[in-house]
């Protein structure tokens, strides 16, 4: 598997099909992995792929909008690429996607590999990349399924419990904006969270502002979040952000039968409408 990736990367760099391949290399704990940018064919042996390769590298493509780039991508990451293609941020001809079949990775932290899967993998059924030029691994034809038991659990709480649950989490937020910075779908030149005029979110790192930030961040990703789970993974204070994102994912699927990043041809739900939409808005 790793050899396949290295050989393809080498070929791409040698033939100058791309001038950089984004992949994974071992991290400094000699246990987990980290993103790496390979520019020279001689460097391809740094590339690895294993169960610790958690990062969604499609985030990096935004910085390389107009440069021919190769990328190693898991199925969830390829959905990110599709999202960016759909939103006209990338040009397909600039990309060479080395898709990797994935049946889930491990929950990792620096110096630590846990025996369980991260949330995103527990509920994921997309095991084959949705877009790729070169596939590593045997494609899985299993039909994707959906499980939102974690969301239903929160939906079933009483309003007061729910409010308390989220206060507990959001009050802890230090607004490092790591969730935004790591997100493949967050690429505004100036985020509404940084805007001064009007001041949507005050700089005060306090419950009210934290609530606005977390609500609107998620809502800006409604029908766009591709469930790579990076925001939750990197959150330094462990806010369960996937519980926020997946609520929107669930409702988007239910209301509009739409899953972001699966097919670039389908018009996303907020770019269109149906006259006969009912959507439980009291008609």
């Amino acid at each position: 598997m790793i050899e396949e990736i290295r050989n393809k990367a080498k070929e791409l760099l040698e033939t100058k099909t791309v001038d950089c391949v984004i992949g994974y290399e071992p991290a400094t704990d000699n246990l987990t992995s980290r993103p790496v940018f390979i520019y020279e064919p001689s460097q391809v042996n740094r590339l690895i792929f294993d169960e610790t390769c958690v990062h969604n590298l499609s985030k990096y493509l935004i910085n390389r909008r107009y440069k021919p780039t190769g990328i190693v991508a898991k199925p969830c990451d390829t959905r990110g690429i599709n999202l960016l293609l759909n939103e006209k941020q990338l040009r397909r001809e600039n990309l060479f996607i080395i898709g990797v079949v994935c049946s889930g990775i491990r929950k990792v932290r620096f110096n630590q590999i846990e025996n369980s899967m991260p949330t995103k993998c527990q509920y994921c059924s997309q095991h084959t990349p949705v877009i790729y030029d070169f596939l590593v691994g045997e494609p899985v034809t299993e039909a994707p399924t959906h499980n939102y038991s974690d969301i239903t659990e929160i939906e079933n709480m009483s309003p007061a419990q729910r409010k308390a649950f989220w206060s507990e989490h959001f009050d802890r937020c230090i607004r490092c904006y790591g969730c935004r910075q790591v997100c493949a779908g967050c690429y505004c030149y100036e985020c509404f969270g940084d805007e001064l005029d009007p001041l949507w979110v005050g700089i005060r790192i306090a419950p009210g502002e934290n609530w606005v930030w977390n609500t609107v961040r998620a809502f800006h990703l409604s029908a766009r979040c591709i469930a790579c789970g990076e925001c939750e993974h990197i959150c330094p204070v462990n806010i369960p952000l996937m519980l926020v994102n997946r609520k929107l994912e669930k409702d988007t699927l239910h209301l509009f039968d739409f899953e972001p990043g699966i097919d670039t041809e389908i018009v996303p739900p907020f770019a269109t409408y149906k006259k006969e939409d009912k959507l439980g808005t009291g008609e």
Partner: protein, 666 residues
């Protein structure tokens, strides 16, 4: 620094009778940036406006709040007052303390007063963020495009041209005339359709202000009112119409005979043809899909397989002016127009979905329009109504109304409006042709709402002896030489079974093929049946939601000839009114893009109902949205959709609305 003046109106006792004005003034004075707060008995009166004017000048105000009635009532009035004081009129904000306060809270004066104060507070917070705005003037290309050369388009073009403005009429068929040219007689007057139509067609072709483009289609439309750019595709006629004198030798001698579209397959035409004798222009085109020489060329080009077709070229040999132009290709031209009138008309419903009526399997089941061709003296049978199966003259004829109309199962729930009258007309005409004919008309309701229509319907019963049977037939089938029509006479409550010689299906109207595509190109709305949607069905019947584009005739919905003509003239009047101005003023309350923030996801382009957002590519390859000030209507849909907040709506900016909300808690 904003200097806000607050003017509270008593509106007689309408406001002052409920709201405690002194208390409001006292509170208003303390609001941020408020320099003066005064009251008026009637702000909208001339003295009231004068006092506002004076206060603006005296206190050097640069923002004005008028706390009075609804802005829907007097916003324009007070904007003028600001302008007369030398202030930009858009620096006004109205606080609605009458309709939305004093009138609805007259039961509690204290609450009403508090609410009035808060309403003013919100307005102050918003007005501080107001900027001067300036309407823009754009020039007008005083030339109209009319799409469709039926009776509606002809009328429109003539009326615009007679008002002195240039017109281009585009028709996709080789001749203008449309559906009306196919008709024999018109109801209820029974005057000859061709006799009243063809003079207009000739007028049009000879009008100095009208440029006729037949065998051409509108491909792409960009721009906006006063300044449209339209790409028109001229299909290859293969005949040089400048040389052609329309002598007719070519179409008389052409050996290739094909079913005539104009005669709905009942007659033949040649491969080089004019659709009908009175066609305008009276010059032919070559139908390449049937031309023998073209087939020969294809045979040569594809490697000479199979039997060699004849090389023909008879038309070319016989043409006295050498007008046959084999090298003519289709061409795309871009023309500029100030307005566009859509008059693409209708086609009749294809009844092949009606399997119970044989879906075209029975030769002697024909449509109403086919019967028109059979009855027409210039038609394929020279006016003889005969059966297609054996050429005999039918003695019993059944008409079936509402085929493809008023039928929800077929997705055609609407009434086609003209069928009741045209079946009556055809029944009367058949009786006139042959007094032995007995006609039966199966109907759901006879709809005879129109001048002389009811009388005409009665005439069919009384004079032509037509038997009307209320009920939609359930089945038509062949039994020997006869057709059996099964149905129910719902008035009698009995099944009926009538053997007839000929069945005429009164097929309904539907928009011409391609109407939806054209509507999308023009960015005007169309309904589920592809009929164009007017801006308002009653008050703006020939306008669309896209300024400068008008609709007329049967492309909007089923219409009869007089209605089409009236609509054509109405659209022409709208066009002439527009062209009587030299420039157009555009509203400044529109969306503007902050290009530095735009991420080029182009959601706004997709979402804009008016195609007012387009995009540009920057030098470094970024896509950036750009709004068109003339197309934008200021709905703000794109702004709410824009994640990076790169678009904003003048007059209702994010900052303004947010401050208005926050004003409540200031």
């Amino acid at each position: 620094m904003a200097r806000v003046g607050v003017f509270v109106c008593h509106c007689g006792t309408n406001i002052a009778g409920v709201v405690n004005i002194p208390e409001v003034l006292e509170a208003a004075e303390k609001m941020p940036m408020v320099v003066s707060a005064t009251d008026n008995k009637y702000s909208c009166s001339e003295p009231g406006q004068a006092s506002i004017r004076e206060a603006i000048i005296e206190n050097n105000l640069n923002r004005v709040i008028v706390a009075a009635c609804s802005p829907r009532m007097h916003e324009i009035t007070f904007r003028r007052a600001l302008a007369s004081a030398g202030l930009n009129p858009y620096l006004l904000e109205m606080a609605n303390i009458r309709e939305q306060c004093s009138w609805v809270h007259s039961d509690n004066k204290e609450i009403a007063t508090n609410k009035a104060i808060e309403i003013i507070k919100m307005a102050v917070a918003k007005v501080i963020r107001h900027e001067p705005l300036y309407p823009r003037q754009v020039g007008i290309t005083k030339r109209a495009l009319v799409i469709g050369g039926g009776i509606t388009g002809i009328q429109t073009a003539l009326d615009i041209a007679n008002a002195g403005y240039g017109v281009v009429l585009v028709e996709r068929e080789p001749s203008i005339g449309g559906r009306m040219a196919q008709l024999d007689k018109t109801f209820p007057t029974l005057d000859c359709s061709a006799c009243i139509l063809t003079p207009k067609m000739v007028d049009l072709s000879q009008h100095p202000k009208i440029k006729l483009m037949t065998y051409a289609e509108v491909k792409k439309v960009t721009g906006f009112i006063g300044n449209f750019e339209v790409e028109i595709l001229h299909k290859a006629k293969k005949v040089d119409h400048l040389k052609c004198i329309g002598c007719g030798i070519c179409w008389q001698k052409c050996p290739e005979k094909v079913p005539s579209e104009f005669d709905l397959g009942l007659g033949k035409r040649t491969a080089i043809y004019i659709p009908f004798a009175q066609a305008v222009p009276p010059k032919p085109v070559i139908d390449l899909s049937h031309c023998r020489y073209t087939k020969y060329l294809t045979w040569v080009a594809t490697g000479q397989e199979g039997k060699k077709p004849p090389e023909c070229r008879i038309c070319e040999k016989l043409c006295p002016t050498a007008a046959i132009a084999w090298d003519q290709e289709e061409q795309l031209f871009t023309e500029k127009f100030g307005t566009i009138v859509v008059a693409t008309g209708y086609q009749t419903y294809d009844y092949s979905h009606y399997k119970e009526y044989g879906s075209r399997d029975f030769a002697d089941v024909i449509t109403g329009l086919q019967l028109e061709r059979l009855m027409s003296a210039s038609g394929p049978t020279g006016g003889e109504v005969t059966r297609l199966s054996d050429g005999s003259h039918p003695k019993t004829v059944a008409f079936v109304c509402c085929v493809g109309s008023r039928d929800q199962q077929r997705g055609r729930p609407y009434c086609s409006k003209v069928c009741c009258m045209y079946t009556a007309k055809q029944a009367i005409m058949l009786k006139e042709h042959d007094p032995e004919v007995q006609c039966y008309i199966f109907y759901i309701d006879v709809r005879a709402g129109g001048k002389d229509f009811e009388e005409f319907y009665l005439r069919a019963i009384d004079e032509a002896g037509v038997i009307y049977i209320k009920g939609r037939p359930s089945k038509i089938y062949q039994d020997g030489k006869k057709l059996i029509v099964l149905g129910e006479d719902t008035l009698m409550g009995r099944p009926v079974e009538i053997p007839v010689d000929l069945v005429v299906l009164a097929t309904g109207m539907e928009p011409s093929a391609g109407a939806d595509e054209l509507a999308r190109n023009l960015n005007i709305s169309y309904d589920t049946y592809n009929f164009m949607v007017e801006a308002h069905p009653k008050l703006r019947p020939v306008e669309t939601h896209t300024d400068g584009i008008f609709v007329a005739g049967a492309c909007v919905g089923p219409r009869d000839i007089p209605e089409c003509v009236a609509q054509g003239s109405a659209a022409a009047a709208k066009v002439a009114a527009l062209f009587s101005q030299d420039t157009l003023t555009t509203e400044p309350l529109i969306a503007v893009v902050n290009q530095a923030r735009c991420i080029g996801c182009l959601l706004c382009v997709t979402i804009c109902p008016f195609k007012a957002v387009d995009y540009q590519t920057t030098q470094d390859g970024r896509l950036i949205a750009a709004t068109n000030e003339s197309l934008c209507k200021g709905c703000g849909l794109c702004i709410a959709a824009c994640r990076p907040k790169a678009i904003d709506l003048r007059g209702f900016t994010n900052q303004q609305i947010l401050d208005e909300v926050a004003g409540l808690w200031l």
